[in-house]
């Protein structure tokens, strides 16, 4: 196998894992954000949020 194969495979692996981490962070955030919104829509809120609303 040529040197180009090893260089290309290294960069593909590095990019795939890096984009995997970036994707994980953003997908996780979207999931948590939606979950919080669902809970708030159901009237379940943090005490500080309720206090702010009462003011």
């Amino acid at each position: 196998m040529s040197h180009a194969f090893y260089v290309t495979a290294s960069y593909i692996a590095a990019f795939a894992i890096t984009f995997g981490l970036i994707g994980w962070v953003f997908i996780d955030h979207r999931g948590r954000h939606r979950e919080l919104e669902r809970l708030e829509a159901a009237g379940i809120r943090r005490r500080s949020a309720r206090a702010e609303e009462a003011r």
């Binding site: 040197h3 090893y6 692996a13 962070v25 953003f26 955030h29 948590r32 809970l39 379940i44 809120r45």
Partner: protein, 253 residues
């Protein structure tokens, strides 16, 4: 009693997760932009330098392998400092920091292992040897996986935080072993050529792209770390809200 210094007050302010989330919202787009710019410059330099007279084109693997390997150790060091923050100062975000850093550290360690193997085959004639450097980095990868599994296996976050903090600190012994393995033992892996007491031994043509890529990878780590911490704070808020909801439902019944 004297007034606490500005730095300590700022550090204490960050103990408030809501304040930390506000800071993340302001800082992360700037960090992400800086990371992108650094990667653009680093990758341009990485692919415009001439190949090494002995290694040929494969020297370009160094620009992703070495920063990933450095980051794998830096990430664990950040986790060890966070573990101290949990056990000594009981900083509320210390455990969040350690838990958020583990998957990122595992990712960078995997990049270092895979690219190292892909560099080893054309240079050493083998994908893998169980020498001290490669084995200790593989152990680091297993430690990251173990810590991720431990955090997921325990339901009580306070208990999980203490147990994983102790484990992180015990496991920190592996970091100097990784760093000095190439000096203490006879390894196929080459000795350090950048971070040395007598200065770098590699030519500046290769050193500059390497340093730019190392800074780019570090910025990527900090960006991902604060975003993962934000997710962990939200996850804990959701858990608390669910507990409150369950308690209220139980009380009403």
């Amino acid at each position: 009693m004297s007034e606490p210094s500005l730095a300590i007050r700022k550090f204490s302010d960050l103990a408030n997760p809501t304040r930390f989330l506000g800071l993340v919202a302001t800082v992360w787009p700037w960090l992400a932009g800086l990371t992108l710019c650094l990667f653009a410059v680093g990758l341009y330099l990485s692919f415009t330098t001439t190949g090494d007279y002995q290694q040929g084109e494969t020297v370009r693997i160094m620009y992703v392998h070495v920063p990933a390997a450095w980051l794998s150790m830096m990430c664990y060091t950040v986790m060890a400092l966070s573990a101290l923050g949990t056990l000594v100062w009981r900083h509320p975000l210390a455990d969040v920091s350690a838990k958020a850093a583990a998957p990122i550290g595992a990712g960078f360690t995997l990049v270092a292992l895979i690219t190292g193997s892909l560099w080893g085959k054309p240079m050493w004639g083998t994908w893998w040897v169980w020498d001290a450097r490669l084995t200790s980095v593989f152990v680091l990868f297993l430690m990251y996986l173990g810590l991720i599994a431990l955090n997921r296996a325990m339901d009580d976050p306070t208990r999980a935080a203490k147990v994983s903090a102790v484990l992180i600190l015990v496991g920190f012994v592996n970091i100097p072993i990784i760093k000095f393995s190439v000096e203490w033992w006879n390894t196929l892996h080459q000795p350090a050529s950048v971070v040395r007491m007598d200065g770098p031994t590699i030519d500046s043509e290769f050193l500059w792209p390497l340093l730019v890529m190392a800074i780019a990878f570090s910025m990527l780590f900090f960006t991902l770390h604060i975003l993962a911490m934000r997710n962990e704070i939200l996850r804990r808020r959701i858990a608390v809200l669910r507990r409150h909801a369950a308690r209220s439902a139980g009380g009403a019944a």
